[in-house]
Point group: C2
């Protein structure tokens, strides 16, 4: 809930037709103020001035963002290239984030071993829209090389879309990747990383995207080297292994060993 949240939101919720709105806007108030024309006129003037000021403010703020985003872009690019040589960097950083970390299932954590790069880009033409990109190595889960979640927050209505995920054969049957039920294990309610990734219903209030954009992107090294802090009023429940890996016991044991060899963080 911050000051300039307004800038990215359309002025009010769900008004498809701006001109029609303008005409209707003061009807009720003006009718009531019929006896007081002076007041009605002043009210309209004040509201018009507010609308104009808001528009100007939004443009000025966008200008500041545009200026700095150009600088950020090359810095992020350089930093992300350097981070590629650190083994399991993004897995550890994301696991340690106090909010994003809580949505990861065991299967997600294993998947994140293959994520080599996480990028968050603002559009140049419109700084309030952005994309989150996950670059993948060859991996046993997905055929995609890049998965992307794309936020259009200044569109009306706002929307969000995701790369078409191509899961490898049988993987969806083995792991509950797309389980949408809410989970008390996660602070934010999502049951898994993929449940968040494929949920396009509320782009504006997508907190995980927000944390990716402003915590993870701005300073991933902090999360890499710090264990997550405790969140007030939330005790992280352990992942329910039976639900995440609904596979025969033998297979689970095998996988754990495999992980051990690779050096679990």
């Amino acid at each position: 809930m911050e000051a300039d949240k307004m800038d990215a939101t359309p002025e009010n919720i769900g008004q498809p037709n701006r001109t029609r709105r303008k005409r209707k806007q003061y009807k009720g108030v003006v009718a009531l103020l019929a006896s007081n024309r002076r007041a009605a006129y002043e009210l309209e003037m004040a509201q018009n001035q507010i609308d104009q000021d808001r528009k100007n403010m939004r443009e000025e703020v966008a200008g500041v963002h545009r200026k700095y985003n150009m600088q950020f872009k090359s810095l992020f690019e350089r930093r992300n290239t350097l981070l590629e040589i650190v083994p399991n960097f993004w897995r550890t950083a994301i696991k340690h984030h106090p909010i994003i970390g809580t949505i990861l299932t065991e299967a997600d954590k294993d998947f994140f071993r293959y994520v080599t790069r996480v990028e968050v880009d603002s559009r140049e033409d419109n700084v309030f829209n952005f994309k989150i990109r996950f670059h993948l190595d060859y991996n046993p889960y997905l055929e995609n090389k890049v998965i992307m979640k794309d936020f259009h927050l200044t569109a009306c209505p706002q929307f969000c879309r995701v790369t078409n995920l191509k899961f490898r054969k049988n993987i969806l049957e083995t792991y509950k990747f797309l389980d949408r039920k809410r989970s008390s294990r996660s602070y934010i309610g999502y049951k898994s990383f993929f449940a968040w990734l494929t949920d396009n219903s509320t782009p504006r209030r997508d907190d995980i995207a927000h944390y990716f954009r402003f915590d993870m992107q701005m300073n991933p090294m902090f999360y890499y080297s710090h264990k997550p802090i405790k969140l007030p009023g939330f005790t992280k429940k352990k992942c329910n292994h039976k639900n995440d890996f609904p596979v025969p016991v033998k297979k689970v044991v095998k996988m754990r060993k495999k992980r051990g060899r690779r050096g679990r963080k």
Copy 2:
């Protein structure tokens, strides 16, 4: 989830000591890059530059907000004074808001008859902190003349506080004003206006405050003269009268009549 949401949030979640953080920050990464000093140095430089740019950007954005908030302040003041002469203005506007409207119980709606003025103020020293004030006429519910919810979003940790509510005798027993249970009637989960008002647990993610600040404050006349639009995937359930007014049937009938006389909207 908008571009400059970052500006109002402390850089990362829950780091009380900034200098200590700085020192520890790159420990893990630098250790891993010991074999590659050049890369480690570049990484640190890039991150320092990002931190500096973020700080500058935040200051520039705050400057823009400060400039416009001065203009807004006098405009809002003038508009709100004019709106005081419109009977039941804020009650109707708030009732019609597609999100805020859903949290109101019948008792809340009756309470809002006595709200003469709603103000949202940004602090001059720090534009990302704000207060929402409800000015009250003499009313049968509260002894307070003004109730205020005060958001400190740039403090670390963020907090929020509310005027000490002085309910009149027996009123809390008659109406379930402070019931905190979640409700399927409301889009956002709050069971009543007072449940939101007294909930200080998550100031950063307080959506109702956001809508008060950026929808209600910016253009209340729109909501006054428009019926609420339908929200996707949400059918507003009728208020459960038995739960909101747990009073004998005779009394309920009496109150309904009273409302009718006053001209219900």
